[in-house]
């Protein structure tokens, strides 16, 4: 009984092809119909496959479906194969489900935009590649999906390609991804060299049997793991390759929701979780993953506190939450990472879609300082975003609470964990709660600070008013350094994102329904992972156990168990109480963040400016993202461009290659020029040439004759 898994990626691919080739002639309705139908069909089929998979006995997993051979080189074979186990099942459902909701949302959001068919074509293309990535049964096919989502990301970030900043952002995303992909490729090469295959089951068996011998050395698995990590940092926006994600907000908001929150950026986490067999063999690699994840989440959270563009805050929040997932994988709690991936997909997509709804409501404005009081104008948006904010902050009862707490607990207690990870994690949780509630309060509470009086504005008038107030606002806060601070350039460009609509208003049903559905998921999505300490079954961990052996404190405890049952029991009870204590701390921290945000942004709204001024230079540095982009520009990109220009372009291409070709032509021309003098028109010179030629012929004949 075949599940025909190939349909799941292929259906969106067909949608992309139809919309891509013929969409220009379709009406908007037709385009949306094609796109939604293909995505819905893919989701339905995925659901069907998942149900069937759950019905299969455990020894038939993982379910592998081989379509045909792709490459064959000696003994090395790569096939088109699809692989379904519990991990890829979760990923597949998240991708198709959330993807479908975002498609529905986009029908409403992008309704007035040009290039409608192109948008949906690219969106479906993205779905195809992402599903290939999660359903592939070997690393090479996964890499195809990996690259493909990078491509789709580039196309979608630069969707408004007539805008310089958008085109540059698309380029930046793709290039940063490519740097990471280079590392990933080297890891694949090492895998092929030492294990001769790229297929998951083969590799994982071989890695399990692999004992470092004299030829390969103990560092091989560490090297492979670290190189894969390089790829993951590129795709999942961790240090040092995260710089593309904030800029990627130039794309339309549904793109940010789908690609840069729920699915593409999670590809790195999925890859690490899938390769847990390799990572778990190398403590060094795990430590590096954890450190990077931890530092990134802390770092991004600090930046998120200061940003004023609503989408930027969410972008840095995404980077920070991805850091949590990496931290989880780094302490070998892969299932916790995947759990957080799933809940994060729900509430982050909701946050982005809600932000899109907000932007739509205020007619294109993205600066939070010009929003406010939207609670009464856009109630559905408000309530759904409230739920999402509570989820991400870790308010108990919602999904984010369970997943984030699981990660924090594992960071503390796992054999690979460390209290320092927990400490940074909890600080980050505090900052997360703070800046998310800050976002909520600035956007929805108090009074509306935007240009409401401008009722029936044209496209152009809105940006001017916004720019004027932006510059005014810019003087009260940190000094905007031309181009880095997002305030000044944001308003004119966002007018392209959405036309001016006058007074703030709620979004159409097409946009609201997905918000509501995602809010529901954000609430109930966490209950699959209620930990034992809170008397839950921690279903998700057991669900994923066949894929990723749970190297957690409890598992370590049960492994040692049997010999000392009482000790084990008391150990378990002690663990349980410790876990409860730590959970209590994180709850307290979440509420503390909420309280501080309430204080600063509702009660005493003069305080933020005062604090900013008193922090002076530190505040400026954080506001400008620690100047990381400038550092990269000066240290890496600048020299690279200078080298390219002076050496490769002017030196080699222009001088050497063009020069040699041109000098060839020049030589021919000069030869012709000198030979021209033979045709002088002077009869006696002709006579001379004839005689010379004849003499040569005679000499030749004499020479031939004497031989």
């Amino acid at each position: 009984m075949t599940l025909n898994l190939w349909l799941i990626p292929v259906l969106p691919a067909a949608g992309a092809a139809i919309n891509g080739f013929f969409g220009r002639r379709f009406s908007n309705k037709m385009v949306s119909a094609v796109a939604l139908a293909s995505t819905a069909a893919s989701f339905a089929w995925a659901l069907l496959a998942a149900i069937r998979l759950l019905g299969m006995p455990a020894d038939q997993l993982p379910y592998i479906e081989r379509i045909g051979v792709w490459l064959r080189s000696g003994d090395f074979v790569v096939e088109y194969g699809f692989y379904l186990d519990h991990l890829s099942m979760i990923m597949m459902l998240v991708v198709t489900g959330v993807g479908f909701l975002i498609h529905v949302y986009s029908v409403g959001y992008m309704g007035h935009e040009g290039g409608y068919y192109r948008f949906f074509s690219y969106l479906n293309l993205f779905m195809f590649f992402m599903l290939t990535l999660v359903l592939a049964d070997n690393y090479l096919l996964m890499f195809v999906g990996w690259e493909g989502v990078g491509l789709a990301s580039y196309l979608l970030i630069g969707f408004f390609f007539l805008r310089d900043s958008a085109a540059n952002a698309g380029k930046k995303a793709f290039i940063a991804n490519r740097v990471g992909d280079f590392g990933f490729l080297i890891a694949l090469f090492l895998l092929v060299k030492h294990f001769g295959t790229l297929q998951y089951t083969d590799i994982f068996h071989k890695v399990a049997e692999f004992s470092p011998g004299i030829e390969s050395g103990a560092g091989l698995l560490t090297a492979i793991a670290l190189l894969m990590l390089v790829g993951a940092t590129g795709k999942s926006a961790q240090i040092p390759l995260y710089v593309w994600l904030p800029d990627a907000m130039e794309g339309p908001t549904p793109v940010s929701a789908l690609i840069h929150a729920a699915t593409m950026v999670t590809a790195g986490v999925y890859m690490i979780a899938r390769s847990n067999a390799i990572f778990s063999r190398s403590t060094t690699a795990l430590a590096v993953v954890a450190i990077i994840g931890c530092l990134t989440s802390f770092f991004a959270a600090t930046i998120g506190i200061t940003q004023t563009d609503i989408k930027r805050v969410l972008a840095y929040s995404t980077v920070s939450q991805l850091g949590y997932m990496f931290l989880a994988c780094g302490v070998a709690a892969y299932s916790a990472g995947i759990f957080h991936l799933m809940t994060h997909a729900f509430f982050k997509a909701l946050l982005f879609l809600g932000a899109g709804s907000v932007i739509h409501a205020v007619g294109g404005e993205q600066d939070m300082r010009k929003m406010g009081g939207l609670k009464k104008y856009a109630p559905y948006t408000f309530w759904t975003m409230l739920i999402a904010t509570c989820a991400i902050a870790g308010i108990p009862g919602l999904s984010g609470f369970f997943s984030k707490d699981e990660i924090l607990w594992q960071a503390f207690s796992s054999p690979h964990g460390h209290w320092a990870f927990w400490l940074l994690g909890i600080t980050t949780a505090f900052m997360t709660s703070f800046y998310m509630f800050r976002l909520l309060f600035m956007t929805f509470f108090n009074e509306y600070r935007g240009p409401v009086a401008v009722q029936h504005t044209s496209h152009e008038a809105q940006p001017h008013a916004a720019t004027a107030s932006a510059e005014h606002a810019g003087h009260t806060h940190a000094v905007p350094m031309g181009g880095q601070q997002t305030v000044a350039p944001a308003p004119p460009t966002n007018a392209h994102d959405h036309g001016g609509h006058g007074e703030p208003h709620e979004s159409p049903w097409a946009m609201v329904v997905p918000l509501v559905l995602l809010a529901v998921l954000s609430v109930i999505g966490g209950y699959v992972g209620v930990p034992k300490a809170l008397h839950g079954g921690n279903h998700i961990e057991h669900f994923l156990a066949p894929v990723m052996p749970a190297i957690t404190a409890e598992a370590a405890g049960t492994a040692h168990g049997g010999a000392h049952p009482e000790q084990e029991q008391s150990q378990a009870a002690e663990d349980s109480s410790l876990e409860l204590t730590l959970t209590g701390v994180s709850v307290a921290v979440a509420f503390a963040g909420l309280g501080l945000a309430w204080l600063l942004y509702v009660k005493r709204r003069d305080l933020p400016a005062k604090i900013a001024n008193s922090l002076g230079g530190l505040y400026t540095a954080v506001l400008n993202k620690y100047y990381v982009d400038e550092i990269y520009g000066a240290a890496i990109i600048g020299p690279l461009i200078a080298f390219s220009t002076r050496v490769l372009w002017r030196g080699i291409d222009a001088t050497l290659i063009d020069g040699s070709v041109n000098s060839g032509a020049q030589g021919v021309r000069e030869l012709g020029d000198s030979l021209r003098h033979q045709q002088s028109g002077n009869i006696r010179s002709y006579a001379g040439w004839v005689t010379a030629g004849a003499a040569l012929v005679i000499l030749y004949m004499v020479w031939m004759g004497t031989r």
Binding site: R676, Q679, S680, G681, N682, I683, R684, A687, G688, T691
Partner: protein, 100 residues
């Protein structure tokens, strides 16, 4: 008993004089005369070898060379006269309308 090589050397000298005149002289008619001198030298060579090898076909060849030389002389003079009519000069250096 004159060795063959003497005749051949004589022929070579005459041919060389013909080439020299062909290159040096500026009068068209004189150039033409040098060409005739060359032809004569070649005739001498043919006759010499015909005499050496007792082959009558050498003499036949000389016969034909002479006929052709005469025909060529006729046509050549016609050309010279035609050139003289347009260019009014017999100096070869002045007949340079093809010069760039």
């Amino acid at each position: 008993m004159v060795p063959i090589s003497y005749y051949l050397v004589l022929s070579a000298i005459l041919f060389a004089c013909g080439v020299a005149g062909f290159l040096i002289k500026r009068n068209i008619i004189t150039i033409f005369m040098s060409i005739e001198l060359m032809l004569n030298a070649v005739n001498l060579t043919f006759v010499t070898f015909a005499a050496q090898w007792q082959a009558l076909s050498g003499y036949i060849f000389v016969f034909f060379v002479m006929v052709v030389a005469a025909a060529e002389a006729a046509v050549g003079f016609a050309i010279i006269i035609a050139v003289f009519r347009t260019r009014e000069t017999l100096n070869v250096d002045r007949v340079n309308l093809l010069k760039l």
